[in-house]
Symmetry: C2
Subunit: 382 residues, 2 copies
């Protein structure tokens, strides 16, 4: 019996907490298995008496809405459910208008809250609507994908896509709390989990060599679930929280988080965001490889470092070469045009995240476009 | 000759400056005749090298765009002009999307700026687009109506209307500078100037008895233009800036600025925002009268105070009774429904701005709806 009690205590303590330190906008990210079932009491404690609009998509609703809703009801939280279509195309002006209207139709007042139950698409769209309705409603994130748990739900970036590019319209709007139930990830298709894992590996590569080494040893356990998964999510959230706390509105250091993303976004754009060919984390994986190879080209790192990154990303099953993307790719000049219109461009100079070693990424604001162009041409012709 | 030089110096010094103190988001409101002609150099000093998207409406463009654009060109500022339709219906999702797209199509980057040249509609829509594009572009306000100069361009509230009500979708987004050219107001129709004046009088009524007394003595000169007008605009901006600095995100004291606005908005809504029947300032004028009469009903002020407010608002030609609105009005219950859906409602309790005398308004968060309903019924049946 004593053993059982101890196990339960360990299990209780296994819930992890990461604080995002942003002064009056500070909040906690809670990480652990089964948080969906205790979400109601967590939210009721934080926002007593609040009425909620729960926004989710059709896919997530089918799997997770019932237990989540039951948890809210058990905690006495009156709530309306708003379902949006699944998929990236939901991050558009039309759905934004629709969602704002639905939140207002639910007659939420100041002091009430909007909850995003879903992946990055639901979180980004819902967060922007929460920021805009009445110029700012309280917002709760319940991310249901690994990508959302370690990336999009941390840091307050919300937004929709425009015909000029992804995430070009939005707001910085911090949540009141993030509840990351890692048991939910058991239901994710492997490809989706792997895509999120690219961002986990990114945190090691950009600033924490120990974490990257830990991932090399423990990635199988992270994929399988259990304490290693919680540890990986918590360390990722902590890494992002540290960067965000130092640069909430992305005026400087936050750009580090874009390691692999300039190339990655260009690849996603080049395949017109066709997820059959490439999902975000796959683009990031190839993008991180390109960032390391480009750093090697510039003499910043050795071939051994490139090979180590290559091995780990390949081991987990992520694509590492542009040739891993099925189908035809456009020529290098198209990529250069996409990169030039990328929102991380500043006054015409190309900004890239380069690296001096595992865990030693840095922001280089003055990269010669000709060097990038030559490098890409070569990679595309391999 | 000496006299002439002195006069010129006085004229130079007549430009007034109000600082809105919001920490890292602080900015200046410059007030004076002829600022449109010097706007280019002001902006170039503040945002060196910035490219601009100038947003204006068809009416304003016809009168003020040419000198403004010439001033920008003279200062070496590269700029694109985006024209939106004039009128309140422009504050909608469709125009918001269109404007965001146009700003992106102009290929503005971080560090560039969006400029609103127009009245409240242009300022509110443009400010929200500036807040949302790339999650926040620098923003400059060049308000061309008295209402915009003393109210909507101060304080960072931006937004559009939803089918559920006015200004229900938006952002707090502070400008980098506000340039209020008081000579522009010479071109305003009297009714528009008068409507803006209701907000000027409001600042006296809510917190500055001396200013209200000064207005009673000087309102004709304010209408005629000249130094009194600049003084009235500057004192109004200062009054709003003080309230905003103490409560940027409207969690408390900023509600004082709503003196006359709960009733006023209900009246505007009741006439379906038909500006032939009622414009915003006229609603505010009647609303301020109602707020004073309701305060008298509650025993907070005497009849003499009500009469003094009545006299001044009537003197300047503003409507003071609901009966001054042409056409039929709905019954009291309709007004109560509108007030209940007003965004200033908190958890079902009615919040009103009441007063204990000229310059002594206060926020009362717990007004009995039955008292309001009885009061309105009586006023509507007069």
């Amino acid at each position: 019996m004593a053993d059982t009690v101890v196990t339960e205590c360990v299990s209780e303590q296994a819930e992890k907490n990461v604080n995002v330190d942003l002064g009056s906008r500070s909040y906690d990210i809670r990480i652990g298995r089964g948080l969906l079932e205790t979400a109601g009491s967590e939210i009721a404690t934080l926002l007593p008496g609040a009425r909620l609009a729960v926004v989710t998509d059709e896919t997530v609703a089918g799997i997770h809405l019932k237990p989540f809703s039951a948890s809210l009801t058990a905690a006495g939280l009156d709530h309306t459910v708003i379902t949006v279509p699944a998929g990236e195309s939901t991050k558009c002006f039309r759905e934004f208008e629709h969602l704002c209207d639905e939140i207002l139709a639910a007659r939420l007042e100041r002091g009430d809250a909007v909850v995003a139950l879903g992946g990055g698409v639901v979180g980004d769209l819902t967060g922007f609507a929460a920021a805009a309705v009445r110029r700012g409603m309280a917002f709760v994130q319940v991310p249901t994908t690994l990508l959302a748990q370690v990336d999009s739900s941390v840091g307050g970036k919300t937004g929709i896509n425009s015909r000029h590019g992804k995430n070009l319209i939005g707001a910085f709007h911090q949540p009141a709390v993030v509840l990351a139930d890692t048991a939910i990830l058991d239901t994710l298709p492997t490809r989706d989990f792997r895509s999120g894992y690219a961002e986990v590996a990114k945190y090691g590569l950009l600033g924490d060599a120990d974490f990257f080494a830990w991932l090399e040893d423990n990635w199988k356990a992270v994929f399988a679930g259990g304490v290693e998964r919680d540890e990986a999510v918590a360390r990722s959230c902590q890494a992002k929280a540290d960067v965000v706390a130092a640069d909430e509105l992305e005026s400087g250091g936050r750009a580090l988080l874009n390691l692999g993303h300039t190339f990655g976004h260009a690849l996603e754009s080049a395949v017109s965001y066709e997820t059959e060919r490439l999902v975000h984390g796959e683009g990031v994986s190839i993008g991180m490889m390109l960032a390391h190879e480009f750093s090697e080209r510039l003499g910043l790192i050795g071939q051994d470092t490139v090979e180590r990154v290559h091995k780990h990303l390949s081991d987990v099953g992520l694509p590492v070469h542009v040739q891993d993307i099925p189908g035809q790719l456009p020529p290098a000049q198209t990529f250069m045009d996409i990169i030039a219109q990328d929102k991380k461009v500043s006054r015409g100079a190309l900004t890239f995240i380069l690296t001096r070693g595992i865990g030693e990424a840095f922001v280089e604001k003055d990269v010669d476009p000709a060097l990038v162009s030559d490098f890409l041409r070569e990679k595309l012709e391999l």
